[in-house]
């Protein structure tokens, strides 16, 4: 579900319902925004095991502060702002706690992510979803095996009767293509 699928009008009626005491209306709100927010947090937070937690905290925080939310303003943007604050706090905390034990790449990733989270481009996720649609069928199967079924590279190689090296380099390649596609969408050159 991309942001265009979710209208602010739909959100508005649900938010007003929650604000007027109908707590059940919060569930559809979560339903509408969970996928997007979860992916947004995944994109910005380089600590995979905390993605669920931050997503969870963001919604619960939003619920408790829903009284302060102005209906009519974009709810998803508000959720992203809450998540961004929580991500920044989490990265800072994580850096402090793990500073001396992280591998080099993880540490650099944390440093860069903190900067990026503060300057998050909300279009990046939508661009990725658009780009995913364009992935060729054979590579899409590879992605599904990896990310939907959670198969290891060895299991994928066996399933597709390919070499382990092919699986690893192909995964890298498709991610690289997605990256380039996102860049094009975010920074379209002169036509």
């Amino acid at each position: 579900m991309t942001s265009t699928d979710v209208t602010d009008t739909d959100d508005r009626s649900l938010i007003e319902a929650v604000q007027s005491g109908c707590l059940e209306a919060f569930e559809p709100l979560v339903e509408r925004h969970l996928d997007h927010l979860h992916s947004f947090v995944s994109l910005k937070l380089p600590v995979p095991h905390l993605v669920d937690e931050i997503t969870h905290e963001t919604f619960v925080f939003a619920f408790h502060r829903l009284g302060t939310f102005k209906p009519g303003t974009p709810f998803r943007a508000w959720l992203r702002a809450i998540a961004t604050n929580k991500i920044c706090a989490e990265i800072e905390r994580h850096c402090r706690e793990e500073r001396n034990r992280l591998a080099y790449v993880e540490q650099r990733e944390l440093e860069i992510s903190l900067h990026e989270a503060r300057h998050a481009d909300p279009r990046e996720l939508d661009a990725l979803q658009d780009c995913l649609v364009q992935v060729p069928e054979n590579l899409r199967a590879l992605l599904m095996l990896r990310y939907h079924d959670g198969s290891s590279s060895a299991e994928i190689a066996q399933s597709l009767q390919r070499s382990l090296a092919w699986v690893r380099t192909s995964l890298c390649r498709v991610r690289q293509q997605l990256r380039e596609c996102i860049e094009r969408k975010l920074n379209p050159g002169p036509s």
Partner: protein
């Protein structure tokens, strides 16, 4: 760029540790490759979320909705996340775990149990209708199962109705405390925000602490090695009916009626409640019961004394369980079957299993590090990484020892021409090979074994290789070239080491060298330390029974600042070789470094018992006892150590500190007066220590100051500079000594005025920009020199900013403080500078508007530091704003910094006098005298009012 295939393997986590490390090393120099890796990882995470199984998010959604609806959110979420991670993100099956989880959630919310029914039905359908059973059997089996599960559910609820009653949350966690929920029985790691329910037990270990915040705001802090249980009782204060959340939770409770302290120490700040219920902390020995106050309760084991002269080294005595109650404010009833007492603010009472609690006695109002003149004695903390001095003690490898220490000149750090800037010998251990060879502090080292030495490691490494090695040193002694040959020895503190296989010995020697190098600025990098830890782990796997390897690995973790890992590995070394004093010493040292002094002292005690004549054990134990305020025990251990090693300068120095700190402490037997003669004994010990080893001069200078020997204190500081002119600390210390002398004797509360001579010195200089008098010029020069020697040190800039504030050059001061803040953004340190400057301006009674602004800023930055509020009070007092002064002093007293409580009550008395409230003033003076009966200023003020 690094080969893509290699990066693909790296990203797939398919490389061996060595290759992985190599790729990381290359990435450090390959920006393009690094960006590629980071982008790949980012997309990997996001794709996992976008394309991951929908069931996983469904669980997350349920968790969010449950939390939002008022169920136990943290617990529920933790459980759901645990369920998710257990399945590793595989498509979720709803059966038993789902039902179980819903049951947990349902138990917290009335009515939610009903929501289980459709989910249970769904599970039954999926499970039984998918089985190859006869069609007519299925419905009966399914119905029976639903009934059975329902019965189990309700039976469990009836059996344990309070198990899910939440009373609070864990508000802070250090280390890995453990939480045991009665409902589940299993031990889980206690996380911040986790709910605490009636029946739960929480435990901290050697390196842990935690704080629980109950729903009414009452806090309970658990220190190290503490276990508390929240028992299930019926008398706990309930949520008020008017609360907006009332009725949402099943039996939510404001705070438990009582807590069982099973072991360790807790500190509690109890929120006053209007319904009058008391909060009780029970121990096996006695119970403390309060309505609303702040107090601590500690359960400890004490060993029966021998003849009082010397602690036993033959073995541990049977410990006796003792409960110690300390009350900060308000009143606490402390009772057991033998009787009860009412302990009031700033008192302490002790209870044992076979006697009533003792009558409350006054708490020690002085902490060990303050002397009579309220001058702080610096107890140098140990360097966490071993250097030449401590390597032989900690690492357990037989190395050579030379017994001298060098300082690299500041110029040489930036200039590789070592011969132009030779290193200065700044410390020579008495009786060491260096001392025997005739080296003295102040000699300049030019060559080692005929080669110019460019850094400390190069200069000292030849002496490390082995004992009995010859090292030729060329030095400049008072400008004259001189060559000496010294013969290395084993470190005097070295203990015999066990025989090690040859390969292991070499590996440990190399590791020791690297760790020693880490003690210097030109030492090991964090990557090298990680690599070393990896190698040592590998070596430990090959030789799993060698404690020496675990010890070295622990030292490596310590150098990496991974103190929890270090503690675990020192413990492993002890498990392998329980009688090795070195490992107990190391464990005790690290425990003390993280603040677990009780446990640290225990380990030091064991080390001392195994090696009573080993100075580090005596020093470590005495130091731990001192920090725990057990001055007499500390002195007993030090005396015993000095009997074996009468010229041990470190023990003499520690003796001086303990004696000086205990001047105002009553003797342990009770009933005695403070022991002012101890400051003279302290001076004797400090002089001897400084004479043997000039490294200990700072303690001497502080004790001289405390005795009122200001000229001597200043002279000692000057001597420090002479011996080690490249060290920044003595310059700053001398500057502060001069500054303190200027403000000496000025106590605005007492009505003392600045002596005319001082006023003559200060006023023209501050107010009309005239040239500074000589002492200010000197101070200025000293502070500048300290800054020049430590150009990247924030405290240098803070000192200089403080100096400019005092001298009225406010713009310049703010400018310099900005630089200090860049180097050290810690707000407390910045606040410290504001407060120092405000205090000096207020003492002199000048620039009071600026003083107020500075004092207010310091309090804003660190609102809970009593010293800063003290300064604010002083500024208000000088401005004649007595109501604000009173308010600020009361805030200080409430914060409860025990060291200065009598002074604050005395000042409050002065403020009341200025407000024409003699009755209140008398009460305040009496309070000050109850805390410190020999407080002459308070006594005089009281007598003047009463007569």
């Amino acid at each position: 760029m690094i080969d893509r295939e290699q990066l693909a393997n790296f990203l797939d986590d398919a490389l061996a540790p060595g290759s992985r490390h190599e790729v990381e090393r290359q990435l450090d120099h390959d920006e393009e490759g690094l960006q590629f890796v980071l982008q790949q990882r980012k997309l990997d995470r996001t794709l996992r979320s976008l394309l991951g199984p929908a069931a996983r998010k469904q669980r997350l959604k349920e968790s969010i909705v449950s939390a939002a609806a008022g169920a136990a959110p943290e617990e529920l979420r933790a459980q759901i996340l645990a369920d998710i991670s257990e399945r590793g993100g595989a498509p979720m099956r709803p059966p038993a775990s789902s039902a179980g989880q819903s049951q947990r959630a349902g138990s917290s919310r009335p009515g939610q149990g009903l929501a289980l029914v459709p989910r249970l039905q769904a599970w039954v359908r999926e499970t039984f209708y998918g089985l190859p059973l006869l069609a007519h059997v299925r419905p009966a089996l399914a119905t029976a199962t639903v009934v059975a599960v329902g019965l189990i559910f309700f039976y469990t609820r009836l059996q344990n109705p309070a198990s899910q009653v939440q009373v609070g949350q864990i508000s802070s966690v250090v280390g890995s405390p453990v939480l045991q929920h009665t409902a589940r029985g299993q031990m889980i790691k206690a996380q911040r925000s986790a709910w605490i329910c009636l029946g739960d037990t929480i435990s901290t270990g050697d390196a842990d602490s935690a704080e629980i915040r109950f729903r009414d705001g009452t806090t309970l802090q658990l220190s190290f090695n503490t276990t508390v249980k929240v028992p299930i009782t019926e008398s706990a204060p309930r949520e008020p009916k008017t609360s907006p959340t009332a009725g949402k939770l099943n039996g939510s409770v404001q705070r438990p009626a009582e807590i069982d302290l099973v072991a360790g120490q807790v500190w509690s700040k109890v929120t006053k409640s209007t319904n009058g219920s008391r909060f009780v902390i029970k121990t096996p020995v006695a119970s403390a019961s309060v309505k609303g106050t702040e107090f601590g309760l500690k359960l400890k084991k004490v060993r029966t004394a021998t003849n009082g002269a010397q602690p036993s080294t033959s073995g541990l005595h049977t410990p006796e369980l003792v409960a110690v109650l300390s009350v900060k404010e308000g009143a606490v009833e402390f009772s057991n079957v033998y009787g009860n007492v009412q302990a009031t603010a700033m008192t302490e009472s002790t209870a044992t299993p076979d006697s009533a609690p003792t009558q409350p006695t006054r708490l020690n109002t002085l902490k060990g590090v303050y002397t009579e003149g309220n001058k702080r004695l610096i107890v140098r903390s140990e360097n966490p990484v071993p250097d030449l001095e401590t390597a032989g003690i900690r690492l357990g490898y037989p190395m050579g020892w030379t017994g001298f220490f060098l300082r690299v000149p500041v110029k040489a750090q930036a200039d590789s021409n070592a011969s132009a800037n030779p290193m200065r010998i700044v410390r020579v251990w008495p009786g060491s090979p260096a001392a025997n060879a005739g080296l003295v502090v102040g000699d300049l080292l030019t060559e080692v074994n005929g080669r110019a030495a460019t850094n400390r490691m190069e200069a000292q490494a030849p002496g490390l290789q082995a004992p009995n090695a010859k090292v030729n040193l060329s030095v400049l002694h008072a400008g004259t070239p001189k060559t000496v040959t010294l013969i290395t020895t084993a470190h005097p503190y070295a203990l015999p080491t066990s025989n090690l296989p040859t390969g292991v010995a070499t590996e440990l020697f190399d590791s020791a060298l690297l760790l020693i190098g880490d003690g210097y600025s030109d030492g090991a990098t964090s990557a090298e330390l990680s690599k070393l830890a990896e190698n040592l782990q590998y070596l430990g796997d090959r030789y799993p029974n060698l404690g020496a390897i675990r010890n070295m690995l622990a030292a490596c973790y310590e150098a990496e600042d991974r103190l929890d890992d270090a503690i675990n590995h020192f413990k492993q070394a002890i498990q392998l070789e329980p009688n090795n004093p070195r490992y107990h010493y190391n464990l005790g040292r690290v425990l003390c470094n993280i603040g677990n002094f009780e446990r640290g002292a225990e380990e030091m005690q064991v080390a001392w018992q195994f090696a009573p004549s080993w100075p580090p054990a005596a020093h470590g134990l005495a130091r731990a006892c001192f920090i725990l305020d057990h001055y007499d025990e500390a002195l007993t251990v030090i005396e015993a150590g000095l009997r074996s090693n009468p010229l041990d300068a470190s023990l003499l120095n520690l003796r001086a500190i303990v004696l000086a700190a205990s001047v105002r402490v009553e003797p342990a037997a009770g009933g005695g007066r403070p022991r002012p003669h101890r400051i003279d004994e302290a001076l004797g010990a400090a002089s001897k220590a400084a004479e043997l080893d000039s490294f200990y001069s700072p303690s001497l200078a502080t004790i001289q100051w405390a005795r009122g020997d200001f000229d001597a204190a200043e002279a000692t500081r000057r001597k420090e500079i002479e011996l080690d002119p490249e060290s920044p600390e003595p310059y700053a210390a001398l500057a502060m000594t001069i500054l303190n002398r200027l403000a000496m004797g000025i106590d605005p509360y007492r009505g003392s005025i600045i002596a005319p001579a001082q006023r003559l010195q200060i006023e023209p200089w501050i107010n009309s920009g005239q040239s500074a008098p000589p002492r200010f010029d000197e101070m200025d020069g000293l502070i500048r020199k300290a800054t020049q020697l430590a150009p990247q040190s924030a405290w240098s800039y803070k000192n200089i900013a403080c100096y400019y504030f005092i001298s009225g050059q406010l713009e310049l001061a703010h400018e310099i403080l900005t630089k200090a803040r860049e180097l050290d953004p810690d707000p407390v340190n910045i606040a410290d500078c504001y407060s120092d400057a405000a205090s000096s301006l207020a003492q002199w009674g000048v620039h009071l508007d600026e003083a107020l602004e500075l004092a207010q800023k310091s309090v804003q930055l660190s609102p809970s530091t009593a010293g800063f509020i003290d300064t604010l009070a002083l500024v208000y007092f000088q401005r004649g704003e007595f109501r604000q002064t009173e308010q600020a002093l009361r805030s200080c007293i409430e914060l409860g910094d025990t060291a200065y409580q009598p002074e604050r009550w005395y000042r409050l008395g002065r403020v009341y006098e200025r407000q024409n409230k003699p009755g209140d003033a008398i009460t305040a003076y009496e309070k000050a005298l109850s805390l410190r009966p020999d407080y002459l200023d308070a006594l005089n003020a009281l007598q003047q009012l009463q007569h």
